[in-house]
């Protein structure tokens, strides 16, 4: 027995030694193809250069430690192990953009704030924004053009039962609720997909939301695209190319349906039901018209584009992602040219992007039509905004009660707590 034990320990110690040697060997020999991390900066860090001066100041050592920490062999696997442990055992996300809900449902962090009203702009502020939209809408109408605002569905509203517990105090109204009410009063063309998706979530043949994606599913996006085309036909009083649904490919979630999961950089895939990936062709009937469109939108438009919605618009139509052109906001002249050529102006926004609706489109277009120089943020001083939000807090019983409790805990006056909360909201809006 003792002989066996002696042989075993003689074998085991070098094995363990080899285990801790592996990362060093891998970082020099790269003998294993390690899956890269999503969202990580690609490219090797610079190897610190040794000099006695740097050695004695300690800077070489700290650079080397950082370099090794960020580039040792199997680091990506280590990061994934850590993420997987925290995800599987503690429902914890290492991505600041993703919140983990129940049963493997993932939500965008921004969207969590929006659903609980923690990004609420205040009624007065939203009212001013809607007034501008109304002005844009009416001016476009005078020019014979149509303005359509599309609000993409919020996964948290469509699948609320899977939301994680929200750790912060929440309010009894949201940007979405107030915007929707005021937009309706202003008689602006609005396509709100929240209700549409909510009523169909468990009734469609294939999932319209994917638990591992932030956006609508590929299939959900295709259905939404279909509806958008029909809506545009009704408001433009034209017939547009008709989407024809071909083969439906069923597979495990991929592409945009796993965009949230990919951000988590886990070791193993999160199980999800089979997702549908439609093949859509567009038939140009004899009387079909392709309107020229100016589209300003966020990433929800990507699924529509992938399903070929661009085929129903004139070839010269443009899509401006977050109202930018190669990373730069569109200028007033660009907007003028775009609008001048277009039959329809579409603003597609996720519900959580209502807090920054249009990403500059609203102010630029408003100022252009009004022929004024100042834009919203300059026009509306911080003090005015602060008063608006303070007023909203005072009018909201639930919100006020939470702030009151916080003020008691911190031992500060209610007025100062209200001001503090309002300032926090405004600062956050500025950051976003």
């Amino acid at each position: 027995m003792q002989v066996i034990q002696a042989k075993y320990t003689k074998f085991l110690y070098p094995v363990l030694l080899c285990f801790i040697l592996l990362p060093l060997l891998e970082s020099n020999l790269n003998f294993v193809d390690v899956k890269r991390l999503n969202g990580a900066v690609v490219g090797k860090d610079t190897i610190p250069v040794f000099s006695f001066k740097k050695w004695f100041s300690g800077s070489f050592q700290s650079q080397e430690e950082k370099f090794v920490n960020d580039s040792f062999g199997f680091r990506n696997i280590c990061v994934r192990i850590n993420n997987q442990v925290d995800y599987s055992l503690f429902n914890r996300s290492h991505s600041s953009d993703i919140e983990i809900g129940k049963n493997g449902y993932l939500y965008g962090t921004l969207s969590m704030d929006c659903i609980y009203g923690n990004d609420f702009l205040g009624t007065a502020s939203i009212s001013r924004s809607v007034s501008k939209l109304k002005f844009i809408n009416d001016t476009l109408a005078k020019l014979g053009k149509i303005f359509v605002l599309i609000i993409a569905p919020h996964k948290g509203l469509v699948c609320p039962e899977e939301l994680a517990e929200y750790p912060y105090p929440f309010r009894d109204t949201t940007n979405y609720e107030v915007y929707l009410k005021l937009l309706k009063q202003a008689q602006i063309h609005v396509v709100d997909f929240n209700n549409y998706f909510k009523t169909r979530i468990n009734k469609t043949k294939y999932p319209i939301e994917c638990k591992t994606g932030v956006h609508w599913s590929s299939y959900g996006g295709a259905l939404a695209g279909d509806s958008i085309i029909r809506y545009l036909e009704s408001v433009l009083h034209i017939k547009m190319p008709k989407p024809v649904w071909g083969d439906m490919n069923l597979s495990k979630a991929k592409m945009h349906d796993i965009d949230a999961e990919q951000t988590l950089n886990l070791l193993f895939d999160i199980p999800s039901p089979l997702m549908a990936y439609p093949t859509i062709k567009y038939e140009n009937g004899p009387d079909a018209i392709k309107p020229r469109a100016m589209i300003v939108g966020d990433s929800f438009y990507d699924e529509l584009a992938e399903n070929g919605i661009g085929n129903v618009f004139d070839k010269s139509s443009n899509y401006w992602y977050y109202f930018t052109n190669y990373g730069m906001k569109l200028s007033r002249n660009q907007v003028k040219d775009e609008i001048g050529q277009s039959n329809v102006v579409i603003l597609l926004t996720a519900q959580y992007n209502l807090a920054r609706i249009g990403w500059g489109f609203v102010d630029t277009t408003y100022c252009m039509f009004k022929n004024i120089n100042s834009v919203h943020s300059q026009e509306e001083s911080r003090a005015e905004k602060l008063e608006d939000v303070k007023e909203d807090i005072k009018l909201n019983v639930n919100w006020l009660r939470q702030i009151e409790a916080g003020a008691y805990e911190k031992g500060v006056s209610l007025d100062s707590a209200i001001k503090g909360n309002a300032s926090w909201i405004i600062n956050n809006q500025a950051k976003n």
């Binding site: 034990q5 085991l12 363990l16 801790i20 040697l21 004695f56 090794v68 850590n82």
Partner: protein, 477 residues
């Protein structure tokens, strides 16, 4: 370079261990010495010369001392060596504190200009190795052990990298013979057990202490005026577990590394939170410091054999004031030492009898609360802030409020902390611990422990590379 860093775990350690395994017996000490000098220089490149210089001086002072029978010269060498070592410690560790306090008096009482002073940086591990150099000269002076013949052997005793920066504080006579010959203990069995111990220590530090530390930092980083009763207690408890798993984890790693090389380092912790009194706590917490204080300060002061009780209480208190000051140059540490000294004195007076009467559970709980409260002085930099914090623990303005930053991971690891802190409260737990740490291993037990070690190292390196939060509390002492 801390043990819980990627560069240590995956670069320094495997290369060193591989070389140590392959190199001939006669060169092993040389290898350890080179590795230790490199290890120390990595963290404190300028101070390596201080440590090399003082050890050279010490070595020759002690050699001269041992070569003479004249009491006067022996005492002179002893005084010189202790003065040089303590002098350096006082200079590097307490000058800033001293000048700050003098400046405080000058400006507030005399309204004069401050003394201008360039703040000194504390050499890494100076508090630990200074105490070891003192044991060398004192042990030789007392005739407990002969001095080392070879300077490099002495250098190795002082600079041995596993225990250099944060202990255990190994008294000279405990390690002397192992430096010259430890071949009997350089077995695969010991190497493996050392590696397991290292992995367990790493796990304690990275997987538990760091999580507790994040929570403690969050709470102690808040304005103390605004924290609730729950939050204040949670912060104190999180820190209580952080410091234990942090330091005991580090000690485990040091003991494990020593064992891989064939050394037998003394234990530094023995489940201190299961203590039934502060007296017992100090027999279980940072044992090697306690032993040092006892043998090189308390006993020379007269120990228990003094004429009256007040002298005994004074000596006890003095030792703990010194212990507090050893931890750091600030009034908070002094107060922390005095706080523990106070409880030790009243335990001698009457409290131990009370603890005996109220039973194991209650006395352990009370001791734990006293210790956890004491850690607030340890954690909060300014003494006045510590008292504000304590007001919220014991005289709360608000009882409710949110428990900030607490998520499932924190609560799970908080529970794990409680479990492992009080694991040996029951006999069964003690038995399991003894089996893991000290019993000889069967093949199947080796397989289980090796697997656990691999998992722990993988999980720890995964956690280390994913976060910037990896402090080590006892580094600054």
């Amino acid at each position: 370079m801390v043990f819980s860093s990627i560069i240590f775990i995956f670069y320094f350690l495997p290369l060193f261990l591989l070389a140590y395994l392959l190199i001939g017996k006669n060169y092993k000490n040389g290898l350890i010495l080179v590795a230790s000098i490199f290890f120390y220089s990595w963290g404190a490149p300028k101070f390596i010369f201080v440590i090399l210089g003082t050890t050279l001086l010490d070595f020759f002072l002690v050699r001269w001392m041992s070569n003479t029978d004249k009491r006067f010269y022996r005492r002179l060498m002893l005084t010189l060596s202790v003065s040089v070592n303590l002098g350096l410690l006082i200079y590097f560790k307490y000058s800033n504190f001293f000048i700050e306090n003098i400046n405080g008096i000058i400006t507030s009482v005399f309204h004069a200009k401050e003394i201008t002073w360039t703040k000194l940086v504390l050499p890494l591990g100076i508090s630990f190795y200074t105490f070891e150099t003192i044991t060398y000269v004192v042990d030789v002076y007392r005739g407990i052990h002969k001095p080392l013949k070879n300077f490099w052997d002495y250098q190795l005793y002082i600079i041995l990298f596993p225990k250099l920066i944060a202990g255990p504080i190994i008294r000279y006579h405990e390690l002397a013979d192992q430096i010259t010959d430890r071949s009997e203990f350089e077995t695969n069995e010991n190497r493996l057990m050392g590696l397991y111990r290292f992995a367990i220590g790493l796990g304690k530090k990275v997987l538990i202490a760091n999580v507790m530390g994040e929570q403690a930092n969050l709470i102690f980083g808040k304005e103390y005026g605004s924290i609730s009763l729950y939050t204040a207690w949670l912060g104190a408890l999180a820190y209580t577990f952080q410091i234990y798993f942090d330091f005991s984890g580090y000690s485990d790693m040091a003991i494990g590394l020593g064992k891989i090389m064939g050394f037998r380092f003394p234990e530094n912790f023995n489940n201190p939170y299961t203590s039934r009194s502060i007296t017992e706590f100090w027999r279980r917490w940072h044992i090697t410091l306690g032993n040092w204080m006892k043998n090189y300060l308390y006993i020379p002061l007269g120990g228990n054999r003094v004429n009256n009780k007040f002298r005994l209480y004074f000596n006890l208190w003095l030792v703990f004031l010194a212990s507090g000051l050893w931890h750091g140059a600030s009034w908070s540490f002094v107060f922390w030492g005095a706080y523990h000294g106070f409880f030790l004195v009243i335990e001698r007076m009457f409290l131990l009898k009370v603890f005996d009467k109220i039973g194991k559970l209650l006395s352990t709980l009370i001791t734990f609360i006293i210790v956890a409260t004491g850690w607030v002085f340890f954690r909060v930099e300014k003494l006045s802030d510590a008292f504000i914090y304590l007001q919220h623990m014991f005289g709360p303005k608000f009882i409710g409020g949110h428990l900030i930053g607490t998520d499932l991971r924190f609560w799970v690891l908080f529970s794990v902390s409680i479990l492992f802190s009080f694991f040996t409260f029951f006999k069964r737990g003690q038995k399991i611990q003894d089996t893991v740490y000290f019993d000889s291993y069967t093949v199947s037990r080796h397989t289980i422990l090796a697997s656990i070690s691999v998992i722990l190292i993988a999980l720890c390196s995964a956690a280390i590379t994913s976060t910037d939060f990896n402090p080590f509390i006892y580094f600054r002492f």
